[in-house]
Amino acid sequence: MTSHSLGRFLDQYGGAGSFLSVCLLLILVMFGLPLFVSTFGLLQVTILAVMSIFALSQGFVWGFAGIMSFGQAGFLGLGAYAYAVAVINYGDSTLAVPISIILPMLFAAVMGYFMFYGRISDAYVGVITLTVSVILFQLINSTSGSQYRIGVVELGGFNGIPAIPPLNLIGDPSRPLDQTGIWYATMGGLLLVYSLLRFILMSRFGRVVVAIRENETRAQLIGYDPRLFKLLAFVIGAGIAGLAGCLYVNWAGYISPGVFALTMSAQAIIFVLVGGLGTLLGPILGAVLIQWLINTIGDQGTVDPGLGLGIILVAFVLLFPKGIVPLVQAAIQQALTLRKRNVGSPLPVDADPLQSGAE
C-alpha cells in the first residue's frame, strides 16, 4: 500500500481517533475563543467558520462524490435568500433555517436529475453548474423594484435585502441571538456538518458514493445506480451549502446578489484544492487559511484579491494538485516508516540491506 492511499484510507476509515480529535479541537475553539477574543474579533472569526461549512459542501461533492460542481455558490445564495425571505415573513427563525436548507436541496434535485440522468460528462457538469449559478446571479440582480416581492420582502435587485433579523431561540422570536450566540450557532453548525459527513462516509451509502468516484462502471456492474447516488450526494452538498448561506446572512445582517457571484464558487473550489481533495479536514483548513488571506489583502486595498486567488488556483493545479492535507499526511507517513526502519523492525523483503545499513 503506497503512503498516499494509506493516508486516504486513514482519513476515511482510520476512524474514531482522528474524528474525535478533530471534534475535540472544534469544541475547544468553539468555547475557548470567546474567552480570549473581543466581540469584534469574534465577528471576524465567525466568517471563517461559515466559509468552512461552505467548503465542506464543496469538499464532499467534489472530493468524495467526484462531481465537478462549479456552482456551489448558487446553493449558498439560494439558502441565504430563502432564510432572509422566510425569517422576515414569519418573524421567527425556527422555520426559516430548515427552509434555507431544503430549498437548495430541491433545486439541486431538479438540476441533478437533468445532469446525472442525462449522463453528461464531468466537464459538462462543471459547465452547467457554473452557468446556472451565473444565471441565478443575473436573475436576482434584475429584481429591483417593488413588483419583485415574496410576501412582505422586496428582493431589492442589486442592493439586496437589508436588516435581516438573526437567529432566535427555537420557537421564541423575542429572544434573538447576539454576536456571541451567532458564533456558537455557526461553530455548532460546523461541528454538526463535519460529524454528519463523517457518518455518511462511514455508512454503506458513503462507501458506494466513493466507489462510484473510483470506478463508475464497476460500481454499476455490482448493481448500484451511479445516477441515483450522484444525485443524492449532490443534493446533500446543496443542503450543506444552503446552511452555510443561512449562517452567512446571520453573520452579515444583510444579503446582496454577491453571494451568487462566480468568485464565491471559485473560492469554494480553492478552499478544497488548497486544503486537500478527498479529505474533510482539508476544506476546513483551506477555508480558514484562504479566507483569512482574502480579508487581509482586501483590508490592505492596493491589490484586488482576485489577482491573488487566481494565482493560488493556477499554482495549486500545476504544482500541488493534491492539496496540503494529503501532502502532510504523506510526509508524516514517510517519517513514520523511516523511523520504524531505524528502530530495527524486520526489513521488507525487497529492501536493499546495503542501503538500510547506510542509514
Binding site: 459538462y124 452557468t131 486567488l309 488556483l313
Partner: protein
C-alpha cells in the same frame, strides 16, 4: 410590419453576436477538448486593447480587426506556454487552471485600471426600419460573424495548415510520426482561439461598454452555445447560434434579457438531456 422588421433585424444580429462570442471558445474546445473558462476574460482583454488603442488616437477599425486579435493572441500564446501545456489530457485540471487565469486576469485589470465601466463611441450611424431607428453597427456584427465563420471554414478545409490542424486533433501520435510537432499545433490553435476571442470582445465593445468584469456576461451564452452545438466548430457554432440566438432575442423582446438567458439555458439543458454530445454529436457528424 415595421415592428416585425425590427425584430427580424434584432434576431439576425443576436445570432451573429452569439456566433462571435462562441467562435473562439469553439475553436479551443472543438480542436483541443479544453473548456477555456478564461474565454470571457480574453474577450475583456480584447475590448481593453481596443479602447486603449482608440484613446491613443489609432483608428477604431484597425484597433478592432488588427490590434485586439494580435495582442490577445499573444497573451493566449504566453498562457498556453506557461500554464496550459502542462495540463493536456487532463480536462478537469485545465478547467480549474483556466478558471484561475480568469479570476487572476480580472483581478489584474481591476488593480491596474480600477473597477469601472468605460464607453467606446459607436462608429456606425443609425438607420431607420419604418418608424423605428436602430444602429447600423448590427450589420457590422453580422458581417464580421459571417466572415469569421467563413474564413475559419476555409482555413480548416482548404489550407495545408488546416489539414495539419485537423490531423493532429484526430490522431496526435500518427501526426507526430509523420513529422508534425503536436505541441506547436496546440500552441497555434490556442493562440488562434484567443485571437478570435479578442476580436469578438473588441467588435462588441462599442455596444457592451468596457469593464474588467464584463467577461462574466459573455461566458454563460458562449458555454451554452458550445455545449448545444457539439464538437464540430463551424457547423456546431452556426446551428446552435441560430437556435439559441432566436430564442434569446424573442424571449428578451417579450420579457427581459435576463429571462432570455434563462430561456436559453433551459433549452440547452433539455437539449443536452436529449443529445448529450450536442447537435453535431447527433446530426452532421462529419461536418467541421
Amino acid at each position: 410590419m415595421d415592428l416585425a422588421g425590427l425584430i427580424a433585424f434584432n434576431v439576425v444580429t443576436g445570432i451573429a453576436t452569439l456566433c462571435l462570442i462562441t467562435i473562439g471558445l469553439g475553436v479551443i474546445y472543438g480542436m483541443m477538448r479544453i473548456i477555456n473558462l478564461a474565454h470571457g476574460e480574453l474577450m475583456m482583454l480584447g475590448a481593453f486593447t481596443c479602447i486603449i488603442a482608440t484613446e491613443a488616437g489609432i483608428n477604431i477599425w484597425i484597433s478592432i480587426f488588427v490590434l485586439s486579435p494580435l495582442v490577445v493572441g499573444i497573451i493566449g500564446l504566453v498562457l498556453e506556454r506557461t500554464i496550459i501545456r502542462f495540463l493536456y489530457g487532463r480536462i478537469l485540471d485545465t478547467m480549474l487552471a483556466t478558471w484561475g487565469m480568469s479570476i487572476g486576469l480580472t483581478g489584474l485589470i481591476v488593480t491596474v485600471f480600477g473597477n469601472n465601466v468605460r464607453t467606446l463611441a459607436n462608429p456606425a450611424p443609425s438607420f431607420g426600419i419604418g418608424a423605428y431607428s436602430t444602429s447600423l453597427y448590427g450589420l457590422v456584427i453580422v458581417a464580421v460573424a459571417v466572415g469569421a465563420l467563413g474564413s475559419l471554414f476555409a482555413l480548416l478545409r482548404l489550407t495545408k495548415f488546416g489539414l495539419i490542424l485537423r490531423a493532429t486533433m484526430e490522431r496526435p501520435g500518427m501526426a507526430a510520426a509523420l513529422g508534425i510537432k503536436p505541441d506547436t499545433v496546440y500552441m497555434a490553435t490556442f493562440a488562434l482561439g484567443s485571437a478570435l476571442a479578442g476580436m469578438a470582445g473588441a467588435v462588441l465593445a462599442p455596444i457592451s461598454g468596457v469593464s474588467p468584469v464584463m467577461g462574466v456576461a459573455y461566458i454563460t451564452r458562449a458555454f451554452i452555445t458550445v455545449l448545444g452545438g457539439g464538437a464540430a466548430i463551424v457547423t456546431g457554432t452556426g446551428l446552435a447560434s441560430m437556435l439559441f440566438g432566436t430564442i434569446d432575442e424573442l424571449v428578451s423582446f417579450k420579457a427581459s434579457p435576463v429571462i432570455g438567458s434563462v430561456a436559453m439555458l433551459m433549452t440547452a439543458v433539455v437539449l443536452i438531456r436529449i443529445f448529450p454530445t450536442g447537435i453535431t454529436g447527433r446530426f452532421l457528424r462529419r461536418s467541421l
